[in-house]
């Protein structure tokens, strides 16, 4: 299916741009890196504000607890590394030093998911959303494209409290219908429809839109919801969508057993019984390969979303 025609942009570049602006506007911004400043692009901030950037070396645990110390001293801290090393490796440091005492630390993680490609399973974390979602006090944000990444960084800087913000390595399609009014904790409707709701997060949002266009040809009118804040989940938008359309498909570049789809499923089970299906990575580790090939192999294409839609539509029909 063709998203080749869409303009693609780097989420990392837009994050770097937002961070640089914040650095210029606010003296309380401090940035921490762990020997990946060039990859996560905190190097852009470091160049202009060397005195407010600290590269602690390959010592992520140290970085997270240092971040907490800075926050306890009134700083707004951005700590950035690859998602694998910024969550699982430092779970307890985040838990005790940051989430429990509600420190004003923003963990900005790049290189999440299988789109990492060649580096393989050790670097392709597919369970980071689950880990961060499990923590009380933590806000979890997964922007859908580069411009939204910019908006989300600006928004989390204004919010006081711990945040985990996740993005991938690869450039992602820019979505025209995303508006400039990003609100933390609010899902946005990118496309209206009455037959089914496709809920996407991150790189899967553009795939939901492509799937929705295809589904129109079959006479299926799909609503597309961009769930860019995964915690707290926008329950209101979710339940409204489920009630309006009567069927839900979720799509995420993350383990399907414990991610956004799982969060949605739990909420629907308690609040709105509609047929639903989750698209995502099965309960396995990733592997090396070309990103697009991996997205196909692990079932993360618009076709997979369409198939899932057919499934929920069948069940919805049966239930009626």
């Amino acid at each position: 299916m063709n998203y080749g025609a869409w303009k693609k942009e780097s989420q990392r570049d837009f994050w770097a741009k937002a961070l640089l602006e914040l650095g210029r506007e606010r003296k309380d911004i401090v940035v921490l890196s762990a020997d990946l400043s060039t990859s996560v692009k905190t190097s852009v901030f470091a160049k202009e504000f060397p005195e407010r950037h600290f590269n602690v070396g390959i010592a992520e645990q140290n970085m997270m607890s240092i971040a907490a110390g800075f926050a306890a001293s009134g700083k707004t801290v951005f700590a950035s590394t690859f998602a694998a090393f910024g969550t699982g490796r430092v779970y307890d440091q985040i838990r005790q030093s940051i989430a429990y005492p509600e420190m004003n630390v923003k963990i900005v993680a790049t290189h999440a998911g299988i789109t990492v490609g060649g580096d393989g399973a050790t670097h392709q974390i597919v369970e980071d959303i689950a880990l961060m979602r499990a923590l009380p006090n933590m806000t979890v944000v997964v922007p859908a494209d580069a411009p939204e990444t910019y908006l989300a960084i600006r928004a989390v800087a204004d919010y006081i409290g711990p945040v985990y913000l996740r993005m991938g390595r690869a450039d992602v399609p820019t979505i025209a219908s995303i508006q400039d009014d990003f609100k933390l904790g609010k899902a946005t409707v990118l496309r209206d429809g009455d037959d089914v709701t496709l809920i996407g997060t991150g790189v899967m949002v553009s795939r939901c839109l492509v799937a929705a266009d295809e589904l129109t040809k079959e006479g299926i009118d799909a609503r597309v919801l961009n769930m860019s804040t995964i915690k707290p989940l926008d329950r209101e938008a979710l339940i409204k969508a489920a009630r309006d359309t009567g069927a839900v498909v979720t799509a995420e570049e993350h383990s399907v057993t414990v991610g956004m789809g799982a969060a949605v499923a739990m909420d629907l089970a308690e609040n709105a019984h509609v047929p639903m299906k989750r698209v995502g990575i099965p309960d396995v580790f990733g592997e090396s390969g070309d990103s697009d090939e991996l997205m196909e192999k692990y079932g993360l294409t618009a076709e997979n979303i369409i198939e899932a839609t057919h499934d929920v539509m069948r069940r919805k029909g049966g239930a009626l």
């Binding site: 400043s37 590269n55 390959i58 490609g117 060649g118 393989g120 050790t122 090396s288 390969g289």
Partner: protein, 278 residues
């Protein structure tokens, strides 16, 4: 101490050159990977696989084999090339590095690749893996040895020092660590990112026998491995001074080639410098 023959050293130099050609080609074909740290590690890995290690390519899981763990997993192209040259799997398979479905993952996968002893890639864990293996050998009264290569950047990791402390506490004289002291990490020179010196004193203070050598000089490498084997009651660390990107002029000491594949033109130049395609 046995002196190593010119013939042996000549053979190792030859093997190392072959490994360098192969790994640069693999990374070029994959379009991504880590040439710098692979090239700095090559000579030590060649010495291990073509002289030091008691391994059987036909029986990679033979219980009494010596073990090698590459803690700095991103340098695995050098390891894969050595394993293939030693006959653990077909040479042709090297061209599948990092491709979908390949047994040769971007970072070592012990469940996929014959001869790979530990899955690594997230830095700082391999030495601890080696300690488990060394303790198991002692428990089972087996005499195999364990070799673990760590990057100098991995000396930033707290876990490296947790491991260092426990290895000497357990008196693991069957364990030998090699620090690939190429003076660089991902973001730049170690002394600008997180200064490590005095590194030898740190390892000494943690209870290790410390040997400092030129990690591209086979006479020194072999002598150090002999010495490590003779040290009793404590683990030995060999701090091997190396050059990141060793053997390809424009990769030598170049931060850019920590984690970047050469383009076509660079590949051709690299092959010319290394004496032709493998």
């Amino acid at each position: 101490m046995p002196k190593h023959s010119r013939e042996l050293i000549g053979k190792l130099e030859h093997e190392a050159l072959k490994i360098r050609r192969r790994l640069v080609r693999m990374i070029y074909q994959a379009g991504s990977g880590h040439p710098g740290g692979s090239l700095s590690a090559t000579d030590v890995i060649a010495a291990l696989y073509f002289h030091v290690l008691n391994v059987d390519p036909k029986d990679p899981s033979w219980v009494d084999r010596d073990r090698f763990v590459l803690s700095k997993g991103h340098a695995c192209p050098a390891w894969y090339a050595a394993l293939a040259e030693r006959g653990f799997f077909p040479i042709e398979e090297l061209d599948t590095l990092r491709k979908t479905g390949s047994r040769l993952q971007g970072h070592p996968d012990m469940r996929k690749t014959p001869g790979v002893e530990a899955s690594t890639g997230s830095e700082g864990q391999g030495l601890s893996n080696g300690i488990g293996m060394a303790l198991a050998a002692k428990l089972d009264r087996r005499s195999y040895r364990i070799y673990v290569m760590v990057g100098d950047g991995e000396n930033d990791c707290g876990q490296t020092w947790e491991a260092a402390m426990s290895a000497s506490f357990y008196k693991l004289d069957n364990l030998c660590a090699i620090v690939d002291r190429n003076l660089m990490q991902l973001d730049g020179p170690t002394k600008h990112i997180m200064s490590l010196e005095p590194l030898a004193d740190k390892w000494k203070a943690f209870g290790w026998k410390v040997l400092e050598i030129d990690g591209h000089n086979f006479a020194e490498i072999l002598k150090a491995f002999d010495k490590a084997e003779s040290v009793k009651g404590k683990p030995t660390v060999i701090i091997a001074r190396t050059l990141k990107g060793k053997g390809v002029s424009f990769m030598e000491g170049a931060v850019a080639f920590h984690g970047k594949a050469p383009n076509e033109e660079e590949y051709e130049q690299a092959m010319t410098e290394l004496g032709g395609e493998p």
